[in-house]
């Protein structure tokens, strides 16, 4: 099939393309960063989602004798080098799912990062007849992007590994009520978007910006003109589209920044985003490119989801041939299913560990990008077989500038909206509530 390559939207003038296609950084450009050293490096946020609950006995810390006295459980052995940067948050519930329409997986994934119920409606019907619309509000990543992502070429990066269900059960990030953001599942497209334009010189970039500005100015005028000639519901759609064009034009005007570690990766191989077999490669490539995007300050906000709730995916590369959701429903007496699920969840955790390793290898000031990154990892249910929304497996990594990390904390029925407030605060947003406000009484206690 013919694949047409588009121009990358964003370019960095401090790159030279090496013969093999990989880009190399110009030495002098690390000085861009040097000037800012010792001070406020940009903070970054990653929301991570894995589906269908976990095996609690293998997931939560063991031998806990105090907040800072505990051992990583089986699933998280790969996180050992980062133990002092972790925060396990036991007893935080998706209270927001207690009410409102939708099936339990739908409500869970919709509310996880929005803190909102689903909208009423008949758009989406789950396995046995539960009906609902999209989540009824913005997700924390997008709320944080309003302030944190000003001045980056890309507002936020949504990445998925076989996240190909294009309805409420497949979306974690929302720009607003009923406005989900689709993830990119193909590393080639991610590469194209982030890195393909590296290597253009200053004059070329200035010309490209000027051309785009004249085109987009005219486009915006057309939106305004047409908007006055349609019904009010249509006008809302056009106005929302216009706002996105305007934001795009603003971001195109951004000139580059980035550390000496901002080196475009190799072009990813062609992969099948619907194939189970390609999942590990895709997951690894996505997170490697995300780390580089952080180093280049292309974006500061991302979400990363491994498939979707209620999926039927096998993990053949781990010899786990059960189907995701069905497997998660096998009861505790099924030792084979138990073992498959632990293996899968260990792989999820290892992806995070690999990502943290990458971030820790990117120098920033006297430390690394990891010092300025926070990852929040969650799930739409706590256990697959019970669909429980109590004690969701929440794990944070990083965020050491705000949180006292290296701890395993235990709460009792704490609303997760409070956790979302804590994340907002960590990222510099002075909120006291988020999502459904009546479920919030401020940030989660004891974190800072």
């Amino acid at each position: 099939m013919n694949r047409v390559r588009q121009n990358s939207l964003f370019s960095r003038r401090h790159f030279l393309r090496a013969a093999g296609g990989a880009a190399v950084a110009l030495p002098l450009l690390s000085s861009l960063r040097a000037a800012a050293e010792g001070e406020n490096f940009p903070k970054r946020l990653v929301l991570m989602y894995t589906p269908n609950g976990v095996i609690p006995d293998a997931w939560w810390p063991q031998n806990v004798t105090g907040e800072t006295s505990w051992d990583l459980n089986t699933i998280h052995k790969g996180l050992a080098p980062f133990k002092d940067r972790l925060l396990f948050l036991n007893g935080v519930d998706l209270v927001v799912t207690n009410e409102g329409p939708g099936g339990l997986h739908q409500k869970g994934i919709g509310g996880l990062f929005t803190g909102q119920q689903l909208q009423d409606g008949d758009l989406f019907v789950d396995g046995c007849g539960q009906r609902a619309g999209w989540a009824n509000g913005i997700s924390i990543d997008q709320e944080i992007a309003k302030t944190l992502a000003v001045g980056t070429p890309i507002k936020s990066l949504e990445l998925g590994v076989r996240a190909t269900e294009n309805d409420v059960q497949g979306r974690i990030a929302y720009a607003g009520p009923g406005a989900p953001l689709p993830p990119m599942n193909d590393p080639s497209e991610v590469f194209q978007r982030l890195f393909s334009g590296f290597g253009q010189n200053t004059d070329q970039l200035a010309e490209l910006r000027a051309r785009r500005k004249s085109v987009l100015d005219t486009v915006q005028a057309q939106f305004k003109s047409v908007s006055g000639r349609v019904s009010s519901s249509d006008r809302q759609k056009l106005d929302a589209h216009l706002a996105l064009v305007r934001d795009l034009e603003t971001r195109l005007a951004v000139t580059g920044n980035g550390s000496s570690a901002c080196v475009a990766p190799a072009v990813p191989p062609a992969l099948d985003q619907t194939s189970e077999d390609d999942m590990p490669t895709i997951g690894g490539l996505h997170l490697d490119m995300l780390a580089t995007a952080f180093a280049c300050d292309l974006t500061r906000i991302a979400s990363f989801q491994i498939s979707t709730s209620l999926n039927h995916i096998r993990y053949p590369w781990l010899s786990s041939l059960g189907e995701g959701h069905a497997l998660s429903h096998m009861g505790p007496s099924d030792s084979d299913a138990h073992s498959q699920l632990v293996t899968r969840q260990t792989w999820h955790s290892q992806l995070l560990a690999n990502f943290l390793t990458r971030l820790s290898q990117i120098p920033e000031g006297s430390g690394s990008v990891l010092d300025n990154t926070l990852v929040l990892w969650g799930n739409e249910v706590s256990e697959g077989n019970t669909h429980s929304h109590q004690s969701i497996p929440f794990l944070m990594a990083g965020g050491g500038w705000h949180f006292r990390t290296g701890r395993a904390l235990k709460y009792t029925n704490a609303p997760h909206n409070n956790l979302l407030v804590s994340v907002l605060n960590a990222m510099g947003v002075p909120a006291t509530t988020f999502g459904q406000a009546n479920l919030c009484d401020g940030p989660l206690s004891g974190l800072v």
């Binding site: 013919n2 047409v4 390559r5 046995c128 539960q130 953001l181 993830p183 000639r229 795009l248 096998r314």
Partner: protein, 556 residues
């Protein structure tokens, strides 16, 4: 043996447990009176004073690529990098959820730049010819381009203010960057403008109107072309619109029948079939390799093509619903022939007629393989499929927060016993009687769509039962897919349901009460034609819903 049984039992029980989790305790099947069969499948009634809306609709990736191909001869499928559309009920052209998002808007820009660059490099002299070199001459050439190309891109003549805007853009660029670049960037702007990216059937009428407003001939031309060809109007449709020759139903019918004979109509029927039957489920299909087959990686693509060829034949050669459900044909390539035990063709796909178990749509290997688990058939999936996609029966909504926790599976029970544990538990059984009763009759088809009469040395039991379908021709016990298909082939409810699905696809939305008159008209015409597919599609184009929109507040 013990291990085998245990694995089978596990795969068997899990989906039931899963579906169970949201099963409904109400209504109790058998206690409700089925609605009379005359009632439309959707339960809507005709209210003549209601006019369904015609919402703004954003081009899908399929439509974008076809439109660019027809507009500029660019067959590069530039939408491949666009994010997938959100979907409702399987359809990706739903105007409520297929809306702009930041990634898509970025990709619209990237695509427009690529398309414009290629167009200028290949075709500047045909796209925007200009022999003059003075600014005045070039301005005139630019204006001619804006008028002619703009009309094709916006699918209607440009309004005066629109022409001024693009001419202004062109002139400024022509002065600073030269003619070629000015055309290229003007083209980029056109391709990112809402008049290109959206179909705007609801643009305000120039004269004050109330109630139902007739779409103008350009809007109708776009409706016809996007419904039947997923692309912009072709030259004949533009000519008809220019001559205002789409005002009568006879003129519309003539165009609709003409468009149905074009190659793009073939692609449209495939697009519909993939969404109606939700064939996304075949993407990345993963089935544990059977004992006789070593390689099934990527086989979902083969199954999809096999199924689409069957559907093509049913639509274009046989032409009616009865053939779709009963034609004893399947299509195989080398790999499928090997999996299914048929004689392998040298290359491509060939049809195989009258193999054992070959009974129309419901026996298709691709469908049966999709509606299954990786290591086991899928009676629940098959039951849900028949009820939802063929009979338009929604599973009843359970009460809020219904969450029974299924008992821990007992490895000492047989498959049937495990199954019974779940379907006999209160709450679960209500849905599962409906679903599993429907799906059990498909047990003669395994997870690779292979026909079988035995499983593990035991004879296959293909008895099932249709319950509470609201159609007396369908309800009752049945044995095997042949008997079920024979019933569905004469079911008024199946007929109405397929009409409803085409209507949703045509309108880009789920029907509402204002659609009662139009939808009923389509259902009745489809039925009167004896279930002829082309008559169904033509009928859609002749409805009021297709030809009118409600007045917009502010129509002037």
């Amino acid at each position: 043996m013990r291990t085998v049984l245990r694995l089978l039992a596990k795969a068997w029980v899990v989906p039931l447990a899963a579906a169970c989790s949201s099963a409904s305790p109400t209504p109790t099947p058998g206690t409700t009176t089925p609605p009379p069969t005359e009632e439309p499948a959707d339960g809507l009634v005709c209210k003549a004073d209601q006019h369904p809306v015609a919402p703004l609709s954003l081009l899908t990736r399929t439509q974008y690529d076809a439109t660019i191909s027809d507009l500029l001869g660019d067959n590069s499928q530039p939408s491949q990098a666009f994010p997938a559309e959100n979907e409702v009920s399987g359809y990706n052209n739903n105007t409520e959820v297929h809306i702009a998002n930041p990634l898509l808007v970025e990709q619209f820009m990237g695509a427009a730049e690529g398309i414009a660059g290629r167009a200028i490099a290949a075709n500047l002299n045909t796209l925007a010819p200009c022999s003059g070199t003075s600014a005045a001459e070039q301005t005139s050439c630019g204006a001619a381009f804006v008028t002619s190309f703009g009309k094709r891109a916006f699918r209607r003549p440009l309004a005066a203010d629109e022409a001024v805007a693009f001419n202004t853009l062109f002139s400024g660029l022509n002065a600073t960057r030269g003619y070629s670049a000015a055309i290229e960037l003007t083209l980029q702007a056109i391709l990112q403008s809402p008049q290109f990216l959206y179909r705007m059937d609801s643009e305000r009428a120039p004269t004050p109107e109330t109630g139902a407003v007739a779409l103008d001939s350009y809007q109708l031309a776009s409706r016809l072309s996007y419904f039947l060809t997923n692309s912009m109007p072709d030259p004949q449709l533009f000519a008809a619109a220019d001559a205002n020759a789409l005002a009568s139903t006879a003129e519309i019918e003539t165009q609709a029948r003409r468009l149905l004979e074009t190659p793009r109509a073939k692609a449209t029927v495939r697009d519909f079939n993939q969404q109606w039957l939700q064939l996304d489920g075949l993407s990345g299909l993963a089935r544990n390799p059977p004992e006789s087959t070593s390689d099934v990686k990527g086989i979902g693509t083969d199954y999809r093509e096999s199924l689409l060829q069957f559907l093509d034949q049913a639509f274009w050669q046989h032409g009616d619903l009865r053939s779709l459900l009963l034609s004893p044909v399947k299509f195989v390539n080398r790999r499928l022939a090997f999996v299914l035990g048929e004689v392998a063709p040298e290359s491509g796909f060939v049809s195989v007629t009258d193999s054992p178990g070959s009974v129309g749509l419901l026996s298709q290997p691709g469908l049966m393989a999709m509606l299954a688990h990786s290591d086991q058939s899928g009676p629940v999936q098959r039951g849900v499929f028949v009820r939802q996609r063929l009979l338009c029966l929604d599973v009843p909504s359970p009460p809020p927060n219904f969450n029974p926790i299924p008992p821990d599976p007992d490895p000492n029970l047989t498959t049937r016993e495990r199954f019974a544990v779940h379907t006999e538990s209160p709450g679960c059984n209500v849905c599962h009687k409906l679903i599993d009763g429907t799906g059990f009759g498909f047990e003669a088809y395994d997870q690779l769509g292979r026909y079988r009469t035995q499983e593990n040395g035991l004879p296959i039991d293909t008895s099932g039962e249709m319950l509470s379908t609201g159609d007396a021709t369908v309800d009752g016990p049945y044995d095997g897919v042949l008997e079920l298909s024979n019933r569905l082939a004469v079911s008024p409810r199946v007929e109405r349901c397929l009409a409803t699905n085409w209507y949703r696809y045509a309108m880009g939305r789920v029907e509402n009460e204002a659609d009662g008159c139009s939808l009923r008209e389509v259902q009745q015409k489809f039925s009167a034609s004896g279930g002829q597919f082309k008559e169904l599609l033509v009928a859609v184009t002749l409805t009021d819903a297709f030809r009118y929109r409600p007045a917009i507040s502010g129509d002037q």
